[in-house]
Assembly symmetry: C2
Amino acid sequence: MIELDTLDRKILRALVEDATQNASALGRALGLSQPATWRRIKRLRDAGVIAGQRLDLDREALGFGVVVFLGIKLATKGRVSLEDFERAVSAIPEVQTVEHILGVYDYRLRIVARDIADFERVLRRRIMTLPGVGDVEANVLLSEERRPGPIG
Amino acid sequence: MIELDTLDRKILRALVEDATQNASALGRALGLSQPATWRRIKRLRDAGVIAGQRLDLDREALGFGVVVFLGIKLATKGRVSLEDFERAVSAIPEVQTVEHILGVYDYRLRIVARDIADFERVLRRRIMTLPGVGDVEANVLLSEERRPGPIG
DNA sequence: CTTGAAAAGAACTGCCT
DNA sequence: AGGCAGTTCTTTTCAAG
């Protein structure tokens, strides 16, 4: 595990928010030179702290205004059941996230749909027909705030 | 709302997975020239389809191995209650995501902690003391798969 | 750590099919 | 719409303080 100082943490926080910033602009904001900032970023990347860089899409602009979280309990929970379920879920394009969890539910799915009618179609024809599905709990996303989370 | 063809969708899918690819490498994979690819990306950016670009951190490498999802019901649900709750939640660094939802619960929080003992500390001292908290449901994350979701 | 400079690569432009 | 060729800008690496 790598040691991070305050500057490293500031760099990570800034880049988690917006990874388009370059080393010179970021360095300017932190009182560092461009090469110094760049070396720190490279060090963090090499240490595996930085896992990747992803594009953030505006689902609304793409015509997908509805996000629903589904909590799912499986009726049968053998090893085969989990694998069957996960394989089947992976084939549904409207599923954006599959979270295998321990607690009240077995899985949590993030479903993206054009509108409520579209969501109903996905729910009836895709989700309810998944192998082993038991109880299903639904929560419609109203708004969402993402934060950097704890660093170091 | 912008019209997307197959190539645009392929570009978005590729960049959602890995935004470090440049226009020439991406174009090569799709049978397009660098400028053609670049122009499409710029068009998508200008149209607002691309909301941003974020760094993905490896929480394990940072020493935060535990992720817990909390479903929270508020005891009192006036406008002021929601705002008080959201303000207080925003001050907790271990909270990575705040989702305001409609359904069985009022909020869903993604909590990141070093280990279970650390999570207990956050739960007792930070979460349970939030203004207006009623029922709390917890699910521990075992594994997670992120997918591009539907595009166009 | 810094500055400065050079090499490499990516982004951007204009013109043509 | 796409490709090609060229220009500009940024990133990356290195030398030296």
